[in-house]
Symmetry: C2
Subunit: 355 residues, 2 copies
């Protein structure tokens, strides 16, 4: 039986994507060669790379708007460093909404001054700061759109004249936004886009070339752009699986179609968390993430019973992050509504058992 | 029909490894979940990482000698930068034996003074410089053990008191060496170890911590070591396939066993290149690589005939690098002797046809 996989990332991918990926490991493109053993400069793989790059731009609605996509290695953690290396000349503004913002700030501080324009650290990152001001003399404003660990999500983004950078690792391709508000978007693949090992970077080219420092080749967006994301051997398999996932999303109807499903899933689960007296949510209601719902039992003595019921129902990956505890239901694009229904059913069965 | 795959990298992997990798994409560890959709912090994947790290140390004969292994993203190109970031305080010595050394030197120069102790650039990198001297006041000596593009290989390494760093991307695990001579070894996986997307780094821990600069987290070997190569989400699939390939090598008898086969393959091909009047090798005989044999036709008018015979025989990936031309037969660990025999047969058939 296939499990209901609520894992926070790496996480569930569409079954048809896994099927195609598995086949490509044995025989790719009907060439009697594995995808893993062909040159990355061969025509079939160059096509994969170009297709993945253009699908990302297309799905985000950024065609013809001066943006280009890269698939690089190193995860969002490497982007914490790269975005500062390429764009932080003197001073940058950061919004601190959790562990990932915190880490991004730490790396940026090595390269310039960081103004923390807002932070929810005082209340354990359980809300999104609002009403903050972004100074006009900063090189950019950086934020994290969704916080996997705490389960908060930015529902709106500030209006500002400075370039905007956004770490969208855990909610890219999940909801409609005006992506052209951002000058640089990055996202580790392992949530809504593919397996671990590749990172999507979407750059408005005219934002580059404004710092004076010498940038090492592998950290330089311009170098990667000039080589069409092939400056060195790319992560072939993770990029191929990302391409398949983006194709799956396009065939489904793109972001507008998946957004509807994601809203249904989130509504179903949050309604139950709010209704069921055995559960409570962790974060401010208006800032709840549609990707990662964090919650806890109101009565810890039911823990063992609840968890054996989850296992019984084939539910996987519901443990909260070690720094938060409780439960976290990650409802990324590939998670079917049906899986959320199974979880809600277990929550309701627990209630019946308890009273 | 499975092809004879002489691709320079990404390149041929053992068929049994591809089979297991393909299965794991659908169902890993009999858990009814894909390897791509489980948490990298889950026990099954932590086991994969630990197994891959310890197999690397074991196969290199470095157990109990103060070494640790990491599997990081970014390829050897990122290591050009990282090794300098972590170890280059003032001055380092580099041996320039080709494109990859050249690139490593370029990145190191951003961080300190580089002394090029030897170079074969004057003759198009067709030989390995000898008799060079390594100054005693450098932080380290850096070399590239095998040059994929030109087809040369270092058959011996200098005796020196300074730390030795070696880029072994294209010949690691292919021949017996006293690996404890080196303080830092790195290798992109996509030749003898696995698919593109992960890089093995083997470090003697006591060589670290001697530079004063602030090192960004993702570039800091100490950070990665302190987190057992899991500072951030690792490239799950490429590391799993690398682990499978290292297991395959261990079961085969390790480096001593594969070295014998690699020597047979190289002897078979080089003997034919030297014997057959229609072919000539590109590089100095004593510096020929056992991994990448570069050669050309002595009579260019036979090009079309030769290449259609290669296709006919199911031979793939024999084109020389675009900067060198001619042919390059890459004979990595997973390439069977039989494939080299098929290539030699084609070379002999061409000779019969031509005379």
């Amino acid at each position: 039986m296939k499990k209901h996989n609520f894992s926070a990332g790496p996480c569930i991918l569409p079954q048809e994507v896994l099927q195609k990926a598995s086949e490509a490991v044995l025989n790719f493109n009907n060439d009697n060669l594995s995808l893993l053993e062909i040159s990355h400069r061969s025509k079939p793989f160059v096509n994969v790379m170009e297709n993945a790059r253009s699908l990302a731009i297309e799905l985000l609605g950024l065609e013809g708007k001066g943006y280009k996509a890269l698939f690089l290695q190193g995860g969002a953690s490497m982007q914490f460093l790269m975005c500062a290396y390429n764009l932080l000349d003197k001073k940058a503004a950061y919004l601190n909404t959790g562990t990932w913002s915190d880490k991004a700030i730490k790396e940026a501080k090595l390269l310039g001054e960081v103004v923390e324009v807002g932070s929810s650290k005082d209340q354990g990152f359980t809300y999104i700061p609002k009403g903050y001001e972004i100074p006009s003399d900063v090189n950019y404003f950086h934020c994290t759109s969704n916080n996997t660990i705490f389960g908060t999500q930015m529902k709106s983004f500030p209006e500002t004249d400075v370039p905007m950078i956004c770490d969208m690792s855990s909610d890219i391709f999940s909801r409609q936004l005006d992506f052209s508000k951002f000058d640089l978007i990055y996202a580790g693949a392992q949530k809504n886009m593919g397996p671990a090992g590749t990172t999507l970077i979407v750059i408005k080219e005219d934002v580059l070339g404004k710092v004076n420092r010498a940038i090492p080749s592998m950290l330089d967006y311009k170098v990667h752009l000039s080589k069409d994301s092939m400056f060195n051997t790319p992560a072939v398999f993770p990029i191929y699986v990302s391409m398949l996932t983006l194709e799956w999303l396009k065939n489904l109807g793109g972001i507008p179609a998946i957004e509807k499903i994601n809203e249904q899933k989130a509504a179903l689960l949050y309604t139950e968390i709010d209704r069921n007296p055995l559960f409570k949510g962790f974060v401010a209601t208006e800032d709840r993430s549609n990707m990662n719902a964090t919650f806890a039992l109101t009565n810890e003595s039911l823990k063992e019973t609840f968890e054996s019921m989850l296992t019984e129902a084939g539910i996987n990956g519901l443990n909260g992050h070690r720094s938060v505890g409780g439960y976290r239901a990650s409802m990324y694009n590939a998670l079917p509504l049906e899986s959320v229904q199974v979880l809600v059913n277990v929550m309701q069965s627990l209630e019946k058992k308890a009273y």
